[in-house]
Amino acid sequence: MSTLSTADEAVATRTVASDAFGRKSGARAVKDQLARALMWGAFLVALIPLVWILGATIVKGGHMLVDADWWGKSQAGITARREGGGAVHAIQGTLIQAGVTALISVPIGVLTAVYLVEYGRGRLAKAVSFMVDILTGIPSIVAALFIYALWVTTLGFQRVGFAVCLALTMLMIPTVVRSTEEMLKLVPNELREAAYALGVPKWKTIMKVVIPTSFSGIITGVLLGLARVMGETAPLIILGPYTAVIATNLFGGLMPTLPTMIYQNYSEANQPAIDRTWGAALTLILIIFLLNLLGRFAGRFSKVKS
């Protein structure tokens, strides 16, 4: 669109320049310039929080991350008053939970999208699409309450990492479905027909032609979806309380994560704890931004153009 905006300007300038058509009145020109200034201003205002948050977390938490201990040790046996220890327990927890969440939601999400694009006709498909919309809008705290009601109250299990994964799955499925759906729709029908005409069955056409063609776009959707759920904290507070030690069992005991590490320490008054909180925040932001950028990068290899 920006090419167009230059074209607009060229046209606009020409209109101004040609006296034969009369000059713009002063008020109109002022309004136009005012609007331009406002739009630039709005953009700069929108950048303030981003720059501010990034700057603050880097200034206050950056020094934590350059310490090798941060990436190699947990907080086992370290109190809020004491310095030292690391975040490896929380980083591990976050990555494990995100990985398992992706393992569950990607197949379900991609298959649902395949159903909607390649198979779905009639009322069932409409119902599925509607439910995906509802899932998209479900607040994370409600998803967490549902899993709590199912996992803890009804089934009588403990609050464990896997329950968190289930809640995150509910939040990730709709993102995966919607982005995959968009990408599958971009695959030209001609390719499906070419495969059918070679005597390739439908399921193989989908697996070997349709999905590979839209693969990088699907990856983009998955990475962006994953980046979104990684920062979710509400399900963790309800279903996955913090612990200061390394714990990798999804089905037993507490499992620490970066968001709960922040939540645990945010109200501490002791400087070491505050430093750790900023460090955890910066680490979390870095992981999420990395995933985000990776996702956008993957999109560049797309074989289909929107």
């Binding site: 001609e190 027909e193 070419a194 495969a195 005409a197 005597g199 056409t205």
Partner: protein, 258 residues
């Protein structure tokens, strides 16, 4: 080995809409038959019923019979997937698979159907590319993406892909309409060569092309707007272009409408 196609009393529907009515024609083995007619008269639709591609469109169905030698393509026991392996198709716009190399594009039909032997595949790729007059142009870059070829080369790649599964019949839906004159000539030469091994049916908008490449020509037309399309006349190409039996055919050939 080429086969004979018999179409009898074929009605074609999109849902409740009858698109084509009462088509009966025979296509001899090792010959080229051209379908001509104005836009929207159903010639591509008829073509797509010859390999059951019509059913890919939701609501698409047919009445009547299409037989390949003596096999009824629409018999209940017949698997449409198997039909499409026997009757190959080339489309209007070249559509190589964008994720695959030139080699994999040609081998796609065999590979996706579970043939893995590398030696067999390599042989088929070479033979098919030679069959499509493309081997010399691409033999040094078989691992490059198929989408990197020119339009005419892409279309010949699609022809190579279609003949790699060794069909009995080759259907071509306006294969040159997206190509420049030189590429068109290359494809027309190729059609002439293919005739020695395959039964070829080609839909074309271009009457000169029909006259150049085909042995038999079928003229399709609409009775009136909103009515189903129908087969007006089918005969030797020479007869259609010099002495058609129907007035409508003559009007169309001489450029009075369409």
């Amino acid at each position: 080995m080429a086969k004979r196609i018999d179409v009898k009393d074929l009605d074609i529907y999109y849902g409740d809409f009858k698109a084509v009515e009462g088509v009966t024609l025979t296509v001899e083995p090792r010959s080229v038959t051209a379908f001509i007619g104005p836009s929207g008269c159903g010639k591509s639709t008829v073509l797509r019923t010859l390999n059951r591609m019509h059913e890919v469109i939701p609501g698409g169905r047919v009445d009547g019979t299409v037989t390949l030698d003596d096999q009824d393509l629409y018999a209940a026991s017949m698997d449409p997937v198997a039909v499409r392996r026997t009757v190959g198709m080339v489309f209007q716009r070249p559509n190589p698979f964008p994720t695959m190399s030139i080699r994999d594009n040609v081998a796609a039909g065999l590979k996706l159907n579970g043939i893995k032997n590398k030696k067999t595949l390599d042989e088929v790729v070479e033979r098919s590319l030679q069959g499509a007059n493309l081997w010399n142009e691409v033999k040094d870059r078989l691992d490059k993406p198929g989408a990197g070829l020119s339009g005419g080369q892409q279309q010949r790649l699609c022809i190579a892909r279609a003949i790699a599964v060794d069909p009995q019949v080759l259907l071509m839906d306006e294969p040159c309409s997206a190509l420049d004159p030189i590429s068109t000539l290359a494809i027309e030469d190729l059609i002439n060569d293919l005739k020695s091994q395959y039964t070829v049916v080609i839909v074309t908008h271009n009457m000169q092309q029909a006259a150049r490449v085909s042995d038999q020509t079928a003229f399709f037309n609409l009775k009136a707007t909103g009515e189903p399309g129908r087969l007006v006349e089918v005969a030797d190409t020479q007869k259609i272009f010099s002495n058609p039996s129907e007035k409508a055919t003559e009007d169309y050939i001489s450029g009075r409408f369409g």
